[in-house]
Each structure stands twice: as structure tokens, then as C-alpha cells.
Amino acid sequence: MRLGYLDPFPRHPFTPKRILFGALAAVVAGDMFAAVMDASRNSWWALVCGAVTALAYVLGGLWMRARLAWLEEQGEAGWQQDLQRRRTGLLWAMVGYLALTLFATAYLGSGRQFLILTFCIVLSALSIFQEGSTELERLLVRQRDLALQARLAPHFLHGALSTLKGAIAQDPLEAQALVDQLARLSREAVAITAEREIPLTRELAFVEVYLGVERARRGEALQVVIEVPEGLESEPVPPMSLQLLVENALRHGLPAGGGEIRILAARLPEGLQLSVEDPGQGEASQAGLGQSLGILRRRLERASDLNLATTPGGRHRATLLLRRP
């Protein structure tokens, strides 16, 4: 079951509306091109050119839409590969087009009309390709931004800073302790994200400091139960993976008065499973959807390895499967 706060993949640009507009632009471009190229200014020919270009655009747009939708399941590695293929594909398409044109001019006599028609189609295809690639590149940049954000923008620091400001006047010792914790948290955040993988204990220690800071903000009502079997402590995990699950639980699953968060780890035949359970009574899941899980999901090779479920007791459980390579 998918819950609302799981970040949907950002919408790709090939919406029906966009395709329609693109097709209209293609008609105009095709017509103008035909008018310029075709000295006879034959109006039906311009119409054919426009229609063919528009059709090519619509078909290409639909194909690209399906392709991007498929790619969204693939994760970053898939996008990289696809971009690579795109570049070589484009090269071959150019070569093919040149060969075709040469063939047309050599064997079909005056291949002028053929040339115009194919050129219109190629123009559409190129523009679609270009837009698709731009979109993929945009996704990659966004993905890196998010990774960087998770790494550098210590979003969890900002809330704590305001708690700190309050504590300075009311309880200086508490404020000093909070500063020490924040320092540890940010230092450790920088250190662990420099690694590709860290032992589960280290991630757990990081999460504990994070939760300690959160508890200072929310008061003692935040309870945490950690059930990690001893044998799993040294299992490698990507840095911040558990933290993002926990952050998600705190943000969306915890009622204002506090509650219990459970952190569980288990070894499955496919790999290591990490889960975080929350009371499932947080603020609803509309605005600013799933920041934390979105970041996590984009880092996974298979999006389905992160899923959300409701336990029989009505609690929410986010589960992350880290497959053994």
C-alpha cells in the first residue's frame, strides 16, 4: 500500500497538453519550412508537411512519455545509461538520415520533396529527443541536488537552533548540552556521507544523536525502541538511509504530543531489511510531500525496495530493503 507522503516522481513534461502545443508548433514550423523550401509554394504540400511533422511530434511525445515513465522505476543508474545511449543513438540517427538523403537524391531523381518531408520528421524527432534528454538531465541534477542537500543542508539543524535559542535563557546548561549534540550531529553527518557505506551501528549511533536533538525539541514524549539483533551491527548500509526513514516517521507519523518510534532490523534472504514504525497519526500528507523518503527512493536501484505499509495496529511502517550485491 502506498501512502500519500511517499514522494511521487516529479511529473515528466510530456503531458497531453504539452504534446498538443508541441504539435501545433510543429505544424507551423513544418508549414513555414515547406513554404521556404518549396519554391512552387504549393499549399497542399505545406499542409502535408505540417501534418506529418505534427504526427511525428505526437507519436514521439507519447513514446517519450512512456519511456520516461518506465525510466522513473530505474533509478539513477538507469538514467545515466539511458543518457549515454541517447548520445550514441543520436549519432546513428544522423548518419542514417544522411545516408537516406543521399539515397533519395541519387536514385529518386529530384528528391526534394522527400527531403523536405523527412527533414520535417527529423526536426520533430530531434526536438522530442532534446526535450527528453533535457528532462533526464534535469532529473539527474535534481537528484544530485537532493543528495547534496541531504548531505550538506543540515535541515534538521534549523529546528534545533530555535529550541537552542529558547534554552539559552531558560536553561544554559541544557543549551550547552544541545550545542554539543548539534556539533556531533553535523560533524558526523559530514563524516558518514563521505562514505559509500557504513556499518549499521554507526548509522544507528547517528540516528540516536539525531533523535536526541529531536527529543530536546519535542520534549520527553518522544519514545524510541531500537530492536537491532547483535549479529547485524556490522552490516553495511548507505549513510543516512535509516536517518531518512526516521525523519520521515517523525515528520509525518508522530502526533504533536509525541509517541513511540520503533527501529527494527532483520536479515532476509535478499538482504538487510530496515524498518521504522510510527504511530501513524502525524499531520496529513499533503504539502511538501515526502522530502526524506523521496531522497531515499531516488538513491535506490529499485523503487519497490522502499515501501510503506500499515500494520494491523494502525501504525505506519516504512521498510527499506538493502539488497546484497
Partner: protein, 235 residues
């Protein structure tokens, strides 16, 4: 008496560090400076044993100052917000370095490593918060230190007190005086253990789980019953 100088441009950080140092018996802050040039004069004039030196300083940076010192040089402890500075600090012959914000535990730990022979029992006191006030606990007053969501707590006859520092730091500091890690989240004073059964350690204030991996280690330690002459921390 160890004579120390603090060179740091930020007045509040300097005052805080100096006050932490003053809390430690056997150590005296003989001078403070706010920039590198002033600091070098101070070092040449006062000939301190230890210098706590910020890396980024107006006038003369910490590393520049370190290079400009002639033998015999004092022990240099760099104080920096950037871990990357550590490498350079050690290349310049730093005796130690501390990360900002400095806390009492790391400071005492650094001094104990620097001056093992002069280390005082008081340096091992555990700064705890008791009713909104700072209290320095003697390790013998503590039954166990327990990590709780990044907080470190001391179980004592006064109840559960929050203490400064991390369990890892305290493990290093207190292992020589009879404390042992019994669990990922707990450090126990062996002398305080009243009983041990079925993976649970009984202490006056309550019980703590014993990790399977550390059971053998604990049993051996209990057999040896490390006598607790708590007054003499070994370096």
C-alpha cells in the same frame, strides 16, 4: 602546575575555554590573546607549558604562529572547527587538537594524554547536570553510564543525571578505573555490580542488559575483580 595560554580571536569562545581550563586543578591559565602576533609575544614572554591555539587568527594564523616559534616550544593544542586542519596541525608538531565547540570531556581527555604524569584524579570527574546545576561526579559515585539517544546519563545514588560527553569518550577515560562496556549503550563500574544472571546486570539503581558478545569479557573482568583504587587514573 601546568601553565597554559589561550589564543583565540572570538572573545566568548576564549572565555569559555579558559573557564574550562581553570576548572581543572593543577592547571593555570597564565595568559590570553586575541590575535596571532599578540599570542606570539605572550608565548615568548610567559614561556607557558601548553598553548591552546585557534587555527584561524587575525595577524598571524595558528599554523604561521606555530612555524614562527623557536625551541623550546610549548605543547601546542590546536582548536579548530574544521577537521581538515588536523592534518596540517600535526605536521606542524601539534601535540593535540580539539574540535570546536570544545567540551570539558575532550579537553580533560586531551590533557590527560598530554600530561599523563601530572594527570589529577579530579580531571576524571564527570560533569553532570543535577537540578539545573553543574555537578562534577567522582567516578566512584557512578554505577553506570548509559547512552540514551545521544545523551549520556549517569546512574548514581542521586538518580539518573545527564552528563557531558559521549559513551565512547567515557569508555576510553574510565576503562583504567574499572569501568567496562557491557552493551552498545552502557558502561558499568565493575565494583557496582551486585549480581549477574540471564544476561542481565543488577545494579543498585536498576538492571542493564548484557550483550552476548561482551559476556565473556565481563565474566573475566569480574573474576579478576579489578580492584578499584579509583584515586589514580592511569593514562
Amino acid at each position: 602546575m601546568i601553565r597554559a595560554v589561550v589564543i583565540e580571536d572570538d572573545a566568548r569562545s576564549r572565555a569559555l575555554l579558559a573557564s574550562y581550563l581553570q576548572e581543572l586543578p593543577g592547571l593555570e591559565v597564565v595568559g590570553e590573546a586575541a590575535d596571532g602576533l599578540e599570542g606570539r609575544d605572550l608565548i615568548e614572554r610567559l614561556r607557558p607549558d601548553a598553548v591552546f591555539l585557534d587555527v584561524e587568527l587575525p595577524g598571524l594564523s595558528g599554523p604561521q604562529l606555530a612555524r614562527s616559534l623557536v625551541e623550546p616550544r610549548p605543547a601546542l593544542v590546536f582548536v579548530t572547527a574544521h577537521a581538515e586542519h588536523a592534518v596540517e596541525a600535526f605536521r606542524l608538531g601539534a601535540a593535540h587538537y580539539l574540535m570546536k565547540p570544545v567540551n570539558r570531556v575532550e579537553l580533560a581527555q586531551a590533557l590527560t594524554r598530554l600530561y599523563p604524569a601530572q594527570a589529577r584524579h579530579e580531571w576524571l570527574r564527570i560533569p553532570a547536570r543535577s537540578r539545573g546545576r553543574l555537578r562534577l561526579l567522582d567516578p566512584q559515585e557512578v554505577e553506570a553510564l548509559v547512552a540514551d539517544l545521544g545523551d549520556c546519563q549517569a546512574w548514581s545514588s542521586e538518580g539518573v543525571l545527564r552528563v557531558e560527553g559521549t559513551l565512547a569518550q567515557w569508555e576510553e577515560r574510565l576503562a583504567p578505573v574499572g569501568f567496562l562496556r557491557v552493551h552498545r549503550n552502557a558502561l558499568v563500574r565493575l565494583e557496582a555490580i551486585q549480581g549477574l544472571e540471564a544476561g542481565v546486570i543488577q545494579l543498585p539503581s536498576g538492571s542493564l542488559p548484557l550483550s552476548r558478545r561482551r559476556r565473556e569479557e565481563l565474566e573475566q573482568a569480574l573474576e579478576r575483580r579489578i580492584p578499584g583504587p579509583a584515586a589514580t587514573p592511569r593514562p
